[in-house]
């Protein structure tokens, strides 16, 4: 008696569990299936100005074009930090949950085996009824999207680095002779030579350091700002990209012509010296070692710093907004020049087709439409940054920095290739160990060199393996 009751109870419990499991599984399967002939294209995006702008594009499509084609677009948001984990899980499972991945131009290298090339769809008039062509896009932005001559995605939002500087303070510096005298003294003592104040558009990295010293209260008690500059220090890819402007300026690059990683160079030491000086000499707020974009904005808005190499997005969404305390106070130019040239890092977000999508063709119809001027105009007007020169030029009323941006991109723009995403965080980790002084330059750079090369080799091997499997 006793035994039976207990066993029955537990068996019943297990049965209930299993059946709930099964019913839910069935229910989930049923729900996932399409109800009628219409197709919904699912696009995964991270929230931000890009997805807000894209929402307008999607709405336009869903009301104007979608009904006619029987194709609707739906945006799925995922937080920035979890986005890649989520997307990789989808890829690893071969899931058709989303039709379009969001992948940055520096990141998609290691995802190549999980992306479908778009060339066929562009050439096929059925999937490209618009006759749209990727050639309308800026070639510098477009080039990372070709892998072995195959088009791997549609670039969308362009990001570029500016040197932000307090216009009022620099103007004062260029006029006030006392300030100029002090500037020369400070630069002679700390930078090594007496520098004259210059317009930020003519700065070298040494001018930048001199100005950073000048606007730091520790070196100039009369400085109106507490610190000269804000330097992103958090361990994440973008931190390393900001440093890359200087690395390029001193003649270095992440890769040589054969695609091998190159970090253990004198150029890297020079660029690290600039960054290390900023942290070591306290030219940047001490907390900036763990800060990035949001912290930089707060420091700039609070009037804590006079300048900083920072992302373009901040200009129109943070600095030049109506209620911004710093409206009109910041000027923007390309980052300072090094002895080997002046560069502004840029990259773009792109949309790529999931080869496991259950309606690839319909998705491709939408993706090719994104190459049309119609789509890009809407995207730009809604606050996005489409990589089409004419459209950017036509939007300067709405976005005051587009003017500067076109110039910066055209003259100084430089991008990193798609495999970079595999080593970007690693680079930031080693570099930030070096510039905070936890590790000496040689150890950090040789360590980074070794580990990054191994990782890049792995990524290349993965791509080969993926391609073999696809054949």
């Amino acid at each position: 008696m006793k035994r039976y009751r207990l066993r029955r109870l537990l068996i019943a419990g297990v049965v209930v569990m299993v059946s709930v499991f099964a019913v839910a599984a069935l229910f989930a399967r049923g729900a996932a299936e399409e109800v009628d002939g219409d197709v919904t294209v699912q696009i995964i995006l991270w929230p931000g100005p890009e997805s807000d702008a894209f929402e307008s594009v999607a709405n336009h499509w869903n009301s104007e074009i979608g009904p006619e084609k029987g194709i609707y677009v739906s945006v799925v948001l995922f937080g920035r930090d979890q986005m890649h984990l989520r997307q990789e899980a989808i890829m690893a499972a071969g899931s058709s949950e989303v039709d379009v991945f969001q992948i940055g131009s520096v990141r998609y290298g290691r995802y190549l085996p999980f992306l479908e090339p778009l060339d066929e769809y562009i050439e096929n008039p059925e999937t490209n009824p618009w006759g749209a062509s990727p050639d309308n896009f800026m070639s510098g932005v477009m080039s990372p999207y070709y892998y072995r001559d195959q088009l791997m995605g549609v670039p969308r939002d362009v990001s570029v680095h500016y040197l932000y500087y307090r216009r009022d303070l620099i103007e004062e510096l260029l006029e006030n002779e006392e300030w100029q005298e002090l500037y020369r003294e400070i630069s002679a003592e700390y930078v090594g030579e007496a520098l004259d104040p210059k317009d930020p558009d003519d700065w070298t990295w040494d001018d930048y350091l001199a100005a950073a010293y000048f606007f730091t209260q520790e070196y100039n008690p009369d400085s109106p700002t507490e610190y000269g500059t804000f330097t992103h220090g958090r361990v994440m890819g973008p931190t390393g990209f900001l440093w890359t402007n200087a690395y390029w300026g001193y003649g270095g690059d992440w890769y040589d012509d054969d695609g091998n990683v190159v970090f253990d160079t004198d150029a890297a030491r020079e660029a690290l010296r600039i960054w290390h000086t900023k942290f070591d000499q306290g030219l940047t707020p001490p907390g900036s070692v763990t800060g990035e974009y949001p912290e930089a904005n707060e420091a700039m808005l609070a009037g804590q710093v006079a300048m900083g190499v920072h992302w373009n997005a901040a200009y129109s969404t943070v600095i030049e907004t109506e209620d911004s305390p710093m409206q009109g106070k910041f000027g923007i130019v390309a980052p300072p020049a090094g002895p080997e040239g002046r560069f502004s890092y840029n990259h773009s977000l792109g949309y790529a087709l999931n080869p496991n999508s259950r309606h690839k063709e319909q998705t491709a119809i939408f993706l090719t439409w994104l190459f049309t001027d119609e789509a890009n105009q809407i995207y730009g007007e809604a606050g996005g940054i489409p990589p089409v020169e004419d459209i950017l030029a036509g939007l300067t009323d709405l976005r005051p920095d587009f003017d500067v941006m076109a110039g910066v991109l055209g003259r100084y723009g430089r991008a990193l290739p798609p495999q970079t995403g595999a080593i970007e965080v690693m680079a930031a980790e080693y570099l930030s160990d070096a510039w905070t002084g936890s590790v000496d330059f040689d150890t950090a750079l040789s360590g980074l060199q070794r580990e990054a090369q191994r990782e890049i080799d792995q990524v290349m091997a993965d791509i080969e393996a993926g391609e073999l499997a696809a054949d």
Binding site: F27, A28, P47, V75, F78, A92
Partner: protein, 281 residues
């Protein structure tokens, strides 16, 4: 006379205790208080140095969190609630009998306890991709059940440890008497064990609820659009570039209100249960 003095003294003591408690709470809640403050501020007020303490409060962040574009905070809260309650129920269902078995019968129990502990020690992240791959085979992605199944697993070690402790305090004599009276094992469980360890169950419920409510990694990996939980929804305010401080603070504040009410109610149950136990004990 003596009585009066005593009660006055006691009252003063209670007042002093309350004051100390207030200070402790203020120190510990400094992050939450300033977070609530941020939730009522405009971006312009947030970005002021030194920080402002007097400002014109605005509800705009709450409106953004509740009803802007892709955000649907009400649904996120509902999902969190369903998942947390489901996980707590499932965790109790599997751990209460197990705890009893572990304490009263040797052998397999200790092994199970050790294995359960191992689960807690495995960094949860390492499960993420395998679990996703398996669950997507069963079409369980983006269902409440998927997240409940995993959260139950994460609650179980804590629940088991706590319950084992509570069951151990249960005097054997009670059960022995019941066994002599001819009680079956289910009767033992429901009539004697569960009523006696009610405070333990309440504690497990609270802890499990909190664990599930705040769990992040699996809620991210296993949800897609229908079962997004409050913390995952809140993380949407960490955008491509900026963190939307105001709306994020508002979302955090809103998400903690239901749990606060839950705990306010449930902690009374614990205290009552414990007092009752002590009187009889």
């Amino acid at each position: 006379m003596i009585n009066m003095t005593k009660s006055t003294r006691r009252r003063i003591g209670a007042g002093l205790t309350a004051l100390t408690v207030l200070i402790v709470i203020l120190v510990f809640l400094i992050g939450i208080i300033t977070n609530i403050r941020t939730s009522f501020m405009t971006p312009a007020d947030i970005s002021v140095s030194p920080p402002k303490w007097i400002f014109e409060p605005t509800m705009v962040n709450y409106l953004v969190a509740i009803a802007t574009g892709g955000y649907n905070f009400g649904v996120y809260l509902y999902n969190s609630l369903v998942i947390a309650l489901g996980s707590v129920a499932a965790a109790l269902f599997i751990t209460v009998p197990a705890a009893y078995s572990i304490v009263r019968y040797r052998g397999l129990g200790d092994f199970v306890l050790g294995t359960t502990l191992l689960v807690r020690l495995m960094p949860a992240l390492s499960f993420a991709i395998p679990v996703y791959v398996v669950f997507s085979r069963f079409n369980l992605i983006d269902t409440h059940l998927a997240i409940i199944l995993m959260h139950t697993l994460f609650i179980s070690p804590t629940a088991l440890l706590l319950l084992v402790g509570f069951v151990q305090e249960l005097p054997k004599e009670l059960e022995e008497a019941a066994i002599v009276d001819g009680a079956t094992t289910p009767q033992l469980l429901f009539r004697i064990l569960i009523p006696t360890i009610k405070p333990g169950i309440a504690a497990v419920a609270i802890l499990g609820f909190i664990l599930s409510w705040n769990e992040f990694i699996f809620a991210v990996v296993l949800s897609f659009r229908r079962v997004i939980t409050a913390p995952v929804g809140t993380s949407f305010f960490i955008t491509s570039y900026a963190v939307a401080w105001g709306p994020m603070a508002a979302a955090i504040t809103m998400a903690s209100i239901p749990t606060m009410i839950f705990i306010f109610v449930a902690q009374r149950t614990i205290i009552q249960g414990m007092t009752a136990g002590a009187v009889k004990g």
